[in-house]
């Protein structure tokens, strides 16, 4: 079993090892009997006769009833444990989970959203409310002994209370196509205070970074790069290389110089001024999802994207 990092990991392991040792006992019993019989009673020649022993009701009853009793214990114990795993305590900290091919999206009560990275506060129960946008997925944290399927058009829930600080791996455990094995998230258990700082930072641990570097981090964490290229390539939304200070032609025929104000507007109200050749309605608004200073950081980062700079990364 992997390391134990939640309140019910030790409980699961206790039952697991209980069953394990019973299995080891019966396995050794059967194999030892078999080997002993085979050695003791291997063929000794043609003339030998064997006893006609064809049944014994006592033996049959013993080896029907005894396993039944043992299995009953496993069943009751297993089910009792399952109830503990299922029923979340009141006042659990709730996080919404949306699975889609092939990423995990987490939405916090204050609107903060993260992708493939989930932070949880230590010392309290966490409840996940999960749904899928496409096919079946399954949220699996081995070190917590926790797993539940994530279904489209339906909510499933699970809960856990972590006991070990730091990072844990989250896997997708229900086959979902070519990116299935890469659908991995990092779950970070933090003390309440750093957790709150992280949440206040919009789900990003900015710390004391200079604005442009903080913006770069945000750009990656918020997955802006999925639609906006920062090199010569063309994606669904306008490329950002050398965009600052450039004169853009807009879809309505007018044109505008890209400055701080225009970038801010494009993040908060993306459909207001669409660049020629691009569709409206592709980018969602980031009102409430990005804090004011985050927008500033992003603008500072975009300013650094100058032609000829991209190779330096």
């Amino acid at each position: 079993m992997p390391r134990q990092a939640s309140t019910f990991a030790p409980m699961v392991d206790d039952l697991y090892y209980f069953i394990y040792w019973i299995c080891v006992f019966f396995f050794i019993l059967i194999v030892a009997l078999m080997v002993w019989f085979v050695i003791r009673y291997r063929e000794r020649g043609e003339g030998e006769t064997t006893p006609k022993i064809d049944h014994s009701n006592w033996l049959e009853i013993i080896w029907t009833v005894l396993p039944t009793l043992i299995l009953a214990v496993m069943f009751v114990w297993g089910f009792d444990l399952y109830f503990k795993l299922r029923v979340a305590p009141h006042g659990a900290y709730e996080i919404n989970v949306t699975a889609k091919r092939w990423q995990w999206e987490f939405t916090y009560p204050d609107g903060t959203r993260t992708v493939d990275e989930i932070w949880v506060p230590a010392g309290r129960a966490i409840k996940l409310i999960m749904t899928s946008e496409d096919v079946l997925h399954s949220f699996f944290v081995p070190s917590f002994r926790a797993k539940n399927d994530v279904l489209p058009n339906r909510y499933t829930t699970m809960w856990f209370e972590p006991t070990v600080m730091g990072e844990h791996r989250v896997y997708c455990a229900e086959y979902c196509g070519s990116g299935h094995s890469e659908m991995v998230a990092i779950l970070n258990v933090a003390e309440p205070e750093p957790f709150q700082d992280w949440l206040d930072g919009g789900g990003i641990d900015i710390g004391e970074l200079p604005p442009a570097e903080a913006g770069k981090l945000l750009f990656e964490k918020r997955a802006c790069f999925k639609c906006h290229s920062i090199d010569d390539s063309k994606k669904e939304c306008p490329p950002l290389l050398g965009v600052f200070g450039k004169r853009e032609h807009l879809a309505d025929g007018s044109s505008i110089t890209v400055d701080e104000e225009y970038i801010r507007e494009s993040i908060m109200n993306p459909n207001a001024k669409i660049v020629q050749g691009y569709r409206a309605g592709v980018m969602p608004t980031y009102v409430g999802l990005l804090k004011d200073d985050h927008v500033t950081f992003l603008i500072e980062y975009i300013k650094t994207l100058k032609v000829g700079m991209e190779k330096e990364g």
Partner: protein
């Protein structure tokens, strides 16, 4: 089994004294044969080819998994196709038909003293339905393969652009072959038994095949309907399972496992049936607890229908449903446990011949015990939550399906090979090969138990580097086992031409099939046998036996 015979009325029928292989000649005599033995041989050719194909995919998969990143297969998509095809071919084209269609067809009528199955033409038809299904399956592989996993879970299977329709259609067609074969065996067992062959004088192989046939007939239609619904959904876009069209994906899982859990017992019961045959004969003892084994086969057949929900413990079922399915799952473990105890105790004070069939039977007890016991943590819901959909499950069902059914099938093949073709396989090479397969198999799957308990999810094309050493062990095991299989195929083919002549009864056993010629004459027996004694009629009064404690 000692028997008397009554002469057939009139002259001896056609085929008297002539082996079924030689009674008629020409290609047509095989293509339209109604002889259950020849149909069994035809099945054998196809099914053994399917096993080789499925095995090749297994070796490919394991070779790919030596490194954490994608290597020889080139992409995750190819890996996904490879594991799907391995599963689908092994389940639908190999394991489900293997024992019933080959050995059941060949030996069920002989073991109850009949001339043929009840409906020889239906038997031939079910063979051709199998062939059509197999051709469809191969067609779907060629035109683009499937990447859904052998379970075809929705909504993925509605969504993917691989050839799901032709593959599911293949499985749908194969289902009919299975239903017809089952129907045939049920009627044959009820109606065609030789005089004196009461229900409780039937060899346990017949009982096992009979219990299997009941499941085949009752459960397979559900799979057929489910797959048909899936095809309708994909082709006509009628929402049944896909939530985007108003369907319910979990409904598919219920339907699918309502067949596929009983199907697990379609796979394992015939394996158990072979073991129940080999162990008493090669110990020269009556089987211990005959009636308990019979009743446990029937109990398994019945309970297997009501445990399907244990495949869905983490799918979001209600707690009550999960409680009931967990309890029933433990219940179905008991009959299997009873059988294991009975086989083991049958060895006591026997005269154990360690020929190849017996080696496979002993390997079966070893491996199937592991397979059965590792089902217990999975049946216990609280633990299953962690182990579900990990390599632990993969290892568990391979221990049951391969360590159980396939090993038993190999045992049965060696056991009856001399009877089927009149020639012996090379005994020592076969024993060594058995050991190679046994070692290779354990080398593949013991590391997988460890990985699974560590949390390695199944169906992963790429994986965390921490699992690499265990994956590498597992892959080496696959090569070792693959080598064993290739050697086995080779000496079987060799023995057809060069093997030592077997004679009627090479091991001097007491069972009806060993009383006719090897290979059997076309009518199976020159005269209808009359059965006077119980099966496994070995041994003397315990006090007089020379084999002491």
């Amino acid at each position: 089994m000692s028997t008397a015979t009554i002469p057939s009325p009139g002259a001896h029928p056609i085929g008297h004294d002539v082996s079924y292989l030689k009674s008629q000649s020409g290609i047509m005599s095989w293509i339209i044969t109604l002889d259950h033995k020849r149909i069994g041989v035809l099945y054998m050719i196809w099914i053994m080819a399917a096993f080789l194909l499925g095995g090749m995919f297994a070796v490919l998969l394991r070779t790919e998994l030596i490194t954490p990143q994608i290597s020889i297969l080139g992409s995750n998509e190819n890996y996904n196709k490879a594991f799907t095809l391995h599963g689908a071919i092994m389940v639908f084209l190999f394991i489900i038909p293997s024992v019933p269609a080959i050995l059941g067809n060949f030996f069920l009528p002989i073991m109850i003293g009949a001339k043929d199955v009840a409906f020889p033409r239906l038997n031939l038809m079910s063979f051709y339905i199998y062939v059509i299904g197999a051709v469809f399956a191969v067609y779907s592989i060629v035109v683009g393969a499937v990447d859904t996993g052998w379970t075809f879970y929705t909504p993925y299977s509605v969504d993917t652009n691989t050839s799901v329709v032709s593959m599911t259609l293949a499985v749908f067609i194969l289902g009919f072959s299975s239903i017809f074969t089952g129907l045939n065996f049920i009627v044959t067992t009820h109606k065609m038994r030789a005089p004196g062959m009461g229900w409780f004088r039937m060899p346990l192989f017949v009982w096992g095949i009979y219990a299997t046939a009941i499941i085949q007939v009752l459960a397979t239609p559900v799979l057929g309907i489910t797959l048909l619904l899936l095809i309708i959904e994909r082709v006509a876009h009628i929402g049944i399972f896909d939530p985007m069209m108003g369907g319910d994906p979990v409904l598919y899982q219920h339907f699918f496992w309502f067949y596929s859990h009983p199907a697990v017992y379609i796979m394992i019961l015939p394996g158990m049936a072979i073991i129940s045959e080999i162990i008493p004969h090669f110990s020269r003892k009556p089987i211990f607890g005959y009636s308990f084994i019979v009743y446990s086969s029937l109990a398994i057949a019945l309970i297997s229908f009501i445990v399907w929900g244990h495949h869905m413990f983490t799918s979001g079922q209600s707690e009550i449903a999960i409680m009931i399915f967990s309890a029933l799952t433990f219940l179905v473990a008991i009959p299997s446990a009873i059988k294991i105890f009975n086989w083991t105790v049958t060895l006591y004070r026997g005269q154990i011949k360690l020929d190849t069939p017996m080696l496979y039977a002993l390997a079966f007890i070893f491996l199937f015990t592991i397979g059965g016991l590792t089902g217990l943590p999975l049946g216990s819901v609280g633990v299953d939550v962690h182990l579900h959909d990990t390599y632990f499950v993969v290892a568990h069902f391979h221990y049951v399906m391969v360590g159980g059914t396939v090993i038993a099938f190999f045992g049965g093949l060696h056991y009856w090979w001399p009877k089927m073709f009149g020639r012996m396989y090379p005994e020592w090479i076969a024993r060594i090969t058995c050991a190679i397969i046994f070692l290779g198999f354990n080398l593949i799957f013991i590391p997988q138990f460890i990985m699974g308990s560590q949390g390695m999810p199944r169906r992963y094309a790429t994986y965390d580097a921490q699992f690499q050493p265990l994956h590498a062990f597992s892959s080496v095991g696959a090569w070792v086992m693959g080598l064993g299989i290739v050697v086995m195929y080779s000496y079987f083919i060799w023995s057809l031409f060069k093997g030592e002549k077997a004679g009627k009864n090479p091991w001097n056993l007491k069972s009806l099939e060993w009383e006719t010629e090897s290979p059997p004459i076309q009518a199976n027996f020159a005269d209808t046998p009359i059965v006077l004694h119980p099966p496994y009629d070995y041994g003397v009064e315990p006090e007089k036996a020379t084999v002491k404690r």
